[in-house]
Each structure stands twice: as structure tokens, then as C-alpha cells.
């Protein structure tokens, strides 16, 4: 309930502020129309000013809309001023001309103009509606007072408007609670589309991002393969060769000397067995490093529960069921939590930690919080860098907040389709 209220208030604020900018846009449009209507050549003079003002307003809108939508909106302006321009008071006319040329040739100026036109209408309308709704709600809230005043004879009763207000009040409230956040998001989305980079550019940026994260994923995969190869080669493989060798020697002993020296043969067989056991240990460690069996047995939630129970720092879990995820993602999430909790127990001197895991929108969200001393430095130690590497391979993002003195929060978001 509180959340809904908060959303409604936030939405209303956004729409009302939008009304302000829309009014400003409307005034600007009117002024420009007047100017061009009377003195066309003044346009050359005025355009750089107008464009600069537009960019201020547009930037402010971008910030607002971006804050509401939770993602930044990119600005793609051609700079009006450049270092090569003729300097000083003498170069002023030429500078102005250059600015005019740049402003007119920047496609973003025209998209901004489109937005201004749209926003003038949309912004004022939504703001007006929001205002009316609030007025309605507030005056409806004051009804009981008016009735009381009427009852005591201080003011005359005014039935018709009161009945109307009482009837409309619930609708107004419902509209406020439901519609304002919706319309606010709508207005913000319009701003995002018209003020953000055009579709082709957005796609191009996205393609570049994906190419980058794919390259990182390949690198991570290759590094993993090399690690496994090295581990097997130097560990289990070497030990199994040893087993074969020792048994071969034992066999030769038996062939050549029979059972005349059981102690020697026994010693060889014992060494062979020890090597075999060593190989098993190495293999188990390797498997645990790739896809821990506990993940297969208990799923991600269960595996993290086991992790939390193991460490020296008490960990409280806020783990919501995430369903079945791709194995690579589960393993990565498990290792990220492992790494984070290891850092907590080793460097943070924390009294408690919290692991938060849930599936949100279309991503897996992991948050590890500790109340320790903070000051986590990514440059020292490879733990955090390893986490970033893993997450980058999945095209996710990592946010670390660890001011000296603490507390520390590590947030990881990895996209995953449902």
C-alpha cells in the first residue's frame, strides 16, 4: 500500500514538473513563431540561442526521464562551439555563423524540436489532469470539515457540489493511484524515444556492446578450458601415469622374482594406491571448480544456504526462488557468492552479512552486504576482478559500494530470459 502511494506521488511530481517544462516549451514556440513571422533574418541571430536553451531543457528532461525509468538517456549533440573557432571579440560574427551552421545541420536539433512540439501538448495536458485530480482529492478530503461547519451553522450547506464531490472522490483517488505512475512512465518513455539516440544508433551501440561482451565471454571460456587442461595434465593425469608405472614395476618384480620379496611389491602397490587416491582428490576438486555437485543436488538456493552456513561470519539469506537457470549461470552465481563471502570473512571484519538473491524483471540480481570496514580495493587481489570478468561474460553489470569505514555492498545483475 505504501509503495503504491509512493509511486503515485512520484508520478504526480514528475507530471507536474513536466507541466512546467511543457509551458516553457509552449512559450518558446510562441516566441519563435512570432519572431519568424515578423523578421526572418533575425532567425540567424536567434537560432544558436534557441538551440542552446533547448539543449538545457532537453538535458534536464533527459535527467528526469532517466531517473524515473532507471536507465540513462544518451545525448547525441554536435558541439556548437569548437576550439578551432576564431577567438576573441573580433571573431564573434564568424563564431556565431559557425554555431548557426552546426545547430542547423545537427539532426538532433530537429528531433528535439519534434519533442518540444509533442511535449507542449502532452506535458501540459497531463500536468493539468494531475492538478485537477489532486485538487479533487484534497477538497473531497475536506468534505467532512465542511459538513461539520454546516452542521454547526457556521456555513450554509451546499448539497449539489458536495454530493458530486463525494461521488467523484473515490474515482479520483483510484485515478491518482493507478494512472499517475502509468502516465509518468509514458511521458518519460516519449522523452526517452525522442530525446535519446535514434533507433539505428541505439542498435549500433548495442551491437558494439554485445560484440564486446561476446569477446569477453570467449576469453573467459578459453581461460577456463586452459585452466582445466592444465589442472588435469599436471594433477590427475600425472598421478595416474604414476599409478601405471608403479604397478608396472610391481608386475615386473613379480615376473622376475616371484613372491620372494613381498615387502617390495607390497610397497609398490601401496604407493600406486596412494597415487590413485591423490588423483581422485584432484579430480574431485576440479569438478567442484567447474560445476559443484551441490548445485546439481540442491539447486542454487540450496547451494547458497550451504555456503552461508559454512563461513565464520553469520550470514542471513534473503533468497527468493529463481527457478531453473542455465548451468553456466548457476555456476557463475554460486562462484560469485562464494568469492564475495570469502572476501567478507577474510577482509571485512564484519559482524554480519546478508545475501540477497532474486529474479527481477528479466535479470538475476545478487546482492551481498556486510557491515565490515569497507575500503574494498579492486586493484589489490583478483577476487573482485574475477567477479567482474565472470559477469562481463554474461553481459551483466557489477556495482561495488565500499567506502572506507564500511558498510560494503556488492550488487551483481545478470540478464537471463525467463
Amino acid at each position: 500500500m505504501r509503495d503504491t502511494l509512493r509511486q503515485a506521488v512520484r508520478g504526480s511530481r514528475y507530471l507536474l514538473a513536466g507541466g512546467l517544462t511543457a509551458t516553457a516549451c509552449a512559450i518558446a514556440l510562441a516566441l519563435i513563431a512570432m519572431l519568424f513571422g515578423s523578421y526572418v533574418f533575425v532567425g540567424v541571430f536567434v537560432v544558436p540561442l534557441v538551440v542552446t536553451a533547448d539543449r538545457w531543457v532537453a538535458d534536464w528532461e533527459r535527467r528526469r526521464a532517466g531517473a524515473l525509468l532507471g536507465r540513462p538517456i544518451e545525448r547525441t549533440y554536435v558541439a556548437l562551439r569548437e576550439t578551432g573557432d576564431p577567438p576573441g571579440p573580433r571573431g564573434w560574427p564568424r563564431r556565431w555563423l559557425l554555431m548557426f551552421g552546426r545547430a542547423m545541420s545537427d539532426p538532433t536539433s530537429y528531433r528535439d524540436a519534434l519533442w518540444i512540439t509533442v511535449h507542449t501538448i502532452v506535458g501540459t495536458t497531463f500536468a493539468a489532469v494531475t492538478l485537477v485530480l489532486w485538487v479533487e482529492v484534497i477538497s473531497a478530503a475536506s468534505l467532512p470539515i465542511q459538513w461539520a461547519l454546516a452542521a454547526t451553522g457556521v456555513r450554509p450547506p451546499n448539497w449539489r457540489p458536495w454530493v458530486w464531490e463525494a461521488v467523484l472522490a473515490p474515482f479520483a483517488v483510484a485515478a491518482l493511484l493507478w494512472a499517475t505512475p502509468l502516465f509518468a512512465r509514458g511521458e518519460a518513455r516519449v522523452a526517452a524515444v525522442l530525446l535519446g539516440p535514434p533507433a539505428r544508433q541505439r542498435l549500433a551501440t548495442r551491437v558494439k556492446q554485445l560484440a564486446q561482451s561476446r569477446a569477453e565471454a570467449l576469453d573467459a571460456h578459453s581461460a577456463e578450458l586452459r585452466r582445466i587442461e592444465r589442472n588435469l595434465h599436471d594433477g590427475a593425469q600425472a598421478e595416474i601415469v604414476s599409478v601405471a608405472l608403479l604397478l608396472g614395476v610391481a608386475q615386473r618384480q613379480l615376473e622376475q622374482h616371484g613372491l620372494t620379496d613381498p615387502a617390495t611389491v607390497g610397497g609398490l602397490v601401496r604407493q600406486a594406491r596412494e597415487s590413485a587416491e591423490g588423483a581422485l582428490v584432484d579430480l574431485r576438486e576440479l569438478v567442484r571448480g567447474m560445476y559443484p555437485p551441490i548445485l546439481a543436488d540442491r539447486g542454487l538456493e540450496g547451494a547458497i544456504e550451504a555456503l552461508a552456513a559454512r563461513g565464520p561470519v553469520p550470514v542471513s539469506l534473503r533468497v527468493r526462488p529463481v527457478g531453473r537457470l542455465p548451468a553456466a549461470l548457476e555456476a557463475a552465481a554460486y562462484f560469485i557468492v562464494t568469492e564475495a563471502l570469502t572476501n567478507v570473512s577474510r577482509h571485512s571484519a564484519a559482524g554480519r552479512a546478508v545475501v540477497d538473491l532474486k529474479r527481477e524483471h528479466r535479470s538475476l540480481r545478487i546482492q551481498v552486504f556486510d557491515d565490515g570496514v569497507g575500503g574494498a580495493d579492486e586493484a589489490r587481489g583478483t577476487g573482485l576482478r574475477g567477479i567482474r570478468g565472470r559477469v562481463a561474460a554474461f553481459d551483466g553489470r557489477v556495482e561495488l559500494s565500499s567506502p572506507p569505514g564500511g558498510p560494503t555492498t556488492l550488487l551483481v545483475e545478470i540478464p537471463c530470459e525467463s
Binding site: 600425472a238 601415469v241 604414476s242 601405471a244 608405472l245 608403479l246 608396472g248 614395476v249 615386473r252 617390495t264
Partner: protein, 214 residues
Amino acid sequence: MRVLIVEDNVLLARGLRLMINMEGFEVVAAVDTAEAFLDAVDQHAPDVAVVDVRLPPAYRDEGVRAAIEARRRRPGFPILVLSQYVERTYAAELFAQGGRGMGYLLKDRVSRVSDFIDALTRVAAGGTAIDPEVVAELLNRHRPPGPIDRLSPRERQVLGLMAEGYSNTAIAERLGLTERSISKNIGSIFTKLDLGVDDSVHRRVLAVLAFLGG
């Protein structure tokens, strides 16, 4: 027999030492780099050295380089080279200067203790030893139809064992035949392959290798 071990894998070095000791031979030293190998040869003057192809720091072909260098300093110094995989180029390089006292075995072969000890003693005595798998690969790789196809299955078998470096006696023993029939087979092989007959084991290995490798 005094043996020098050049192997960086601790487990394997230990195993080799054990195997060699159990055979009654002496391990004069066990080193793990190419430099130490060359120094140890000068220092201990062993009868034969067992050298891994891959040694630190780069783990590529330090062992092969060192073996060739050691043979340059002491021509004919017996070396048995151990390799993880069949690497035809290394085999070619090692046998380029003649195959006296040179061996090239796969590391997996060490568990076949009899074969390994056999190869070691053969090489130390100036003979040749080539891993059966190397020979098999040479024999079986894709080739345009040629003289090899004229050989009977038995002759191919004998050819393989010859290439591995076995003497007629050893081949006869392995195949359960008489030495005379082996000699006859070999004569037939050389005729069919148009190779000059040569009884000296290592020269005949070279001839066969050259034939197979070409």
C-alpha cells in the same frame, strides 16, 4: 648402468628413478631443466640420459634442443627422449644425424616397464628405439598407393618392429618365429621397397624411417 634423469614432473621423475633402481641401475642425478641437463652430463658422465621433450621455462621443445646440443658436444651420447604426444618433427630432428644411441618414446610407454627398460638398455648400448605408436602413425598415414601396399600383413608387422629398433633376434622372439624367417621377411621387404639391405640395426631403422617419412 648409470642413468641421468631429466624430467620436471616430480611424480614421474620419482617413478622413473624407482623403476631404474629396481632394475639394478644407478640414477646418478635427476634434474629438471635443459641447462642442468647439459651441466650434469659433463659433471657425472652417465651412460645414458632420459630426457623429457618439454622442460621449463617455456615447456615446448627444450628437451629436444638440449638433446641435440648434448649430441653435438658428445657425438653418439645415448639419449632416450620422452614425449607427451607423437611429434613427427621432433623425431625427424633427433634422428637426422643418425640414429645411433637415440630413442624416442611416448611418456605413456613408461608404464610398460619391460618395454621401457628394453628400450633404455638398447639405446645405452648404441641401438635405436622408436615408439610403436610413432611407427604405426608413419605406417598408416594417408599416402598415395605405393610400394608399402605390396607388403604382406606379416611383412608390415616386421617392418614396424624394425622401425622401432629391434634386432632380428628380438623381432623373432616377439613374433614367435625363427630368426631365419625374419631375415627372409626383411630381405623381401627391402626388395619390395627398393631399399639397400643393411644389417646394422640403426642404419636400417634410418632407411625405413626415411622411406616412411618421405
